[in-house]
């Protein structure tokens, strides 16, 4: 059994990570999406164990202190994090795990996981990103400007990623196809086939051609 991949899909707010992940998971039903833990109370319609694992602050801090989180953040007084065990257990069972996460979180994961595959989702242009951020209509102008300034900062981290994929508004299918190609290609890496290759070499040496 191969160990599953850890695919980290990241990118600034407004690049469309959520939609892309949703479509990727619906096309690849065997792909596990990692579920975050959070200390914030569930919003209407959110289901424990589906959207998040909702836990108490004492428990969160215990996990964090025990180095049991691949990454964590505090946002507006609430904690969010990704439990290492959930990800590792799924991978050990051979499942590929998808982690959708902001660039700060992705950089923490990179420190904690040796063999993750890091993909940065890009807007076609920064002008297009501003249109998306400002077009949502739910945030104040100040919040929108903060998001855009953060995106500019986050973009400087792109060099630490393995892959970039541009997500055009009207071509999410094409974006998802490229992510599927990255998944398929990563599975072909020599390092994932060590046991099979060793067996093949052994088999070749054991075949007795003097019988022919």
């Amino acid at each position: 059994m191969h160990k599953g991949l850890l695919i980290v899909l990241s990118g600034p707010s407004g690049t469309g990570k959520g939609t892309v992940c949703q479509q990727l998971c619906s096309r690849q039903p065997r792909l596990h999406q990692a579920i975050s833990i959070t200390t914030r109370p569930p919003r209407e319609g959110e289901v424990n164990g589906v959207h998040y694992h909702f836990i108490g602050e004492v428990e969160f801090i215990r996990l964090r202190e025990a180095k049991a989180l691949l990454e964590w953040a505090e946002v507006y007084g609430n904690f969010y994090g990704t439990p290492r065990d959930d990800v590792e257990n799924a991978r050990t069972r051979g499942h590929d795990v998808l982690l959708e996460i902001d660039p700060q979180g992705a950089m923490q994961v990179q420190k904690n996981v040796e063999d993750g595959v890091f993909i940065f989702l890009l807007p076609p242009s920064m002008e297009a990103l501003w249109q998306r951020i400002s077009g949502r209509g739910t945030d104040s102008l100040q919040v929108m400007k903060q998001r855009f300034a953060a995106a500019n900062q986050e973009l400087h981290r792109v060099w630490q990623y393995d892959y970039v994929v541009v997500n055009q508004d009207d071509q999410v299918d094409y974006t998802v196809e490229r992510l599927e190609a990255i998944l398929a290609a990563e599975k072909c890496k020599v390092k994932h086939h060590h046991d099979f290759l060793q067996e093949l070499i052994k088999e070749g040496e054991s075949i007795d051609l003097s019988l022919h």
Copy 2:
């Protein structure tokens, strides 16, 4: 304009490199297949500039001495090689170049090209490889045994490759799909998007949000 990729598809005799390359090129018409040079005379039906560039021995040796070949070999008194210029010119014009080559040649290319993508085509088992080698019916038993012994040796080089793809007899389509995925994924590597990423960073910093 991005520089094209150099895809080196290699593997022992009998793994089906030729068929796989043919199908890949017919599905990806923009992929350039590198044409080898050789000093052997054309066989019936072979066209100069299509199957090989047929050249004289003096010219071959001149190119080899000038380090103008990515790899070369002597087989039964004839020389074969891959001219560096053909490959580099196509890549500079933005074309991906496919090189189908035996593992000895591939290892020479690896020494001469920094950024090639090396794929090792595998049989599903060594027993299956022997069946393929011995089933051709055109070679003597001694030649078949030599081919199989060479395959065993070549398999030890697999660790120096980037990717492995198993080519099942009845699933060439699946093999070609995986090669296409590797191509698509390699094109998403961060290193191929340096200029676009620099421009995106610059664009983001130039957008004046104080106007909003």
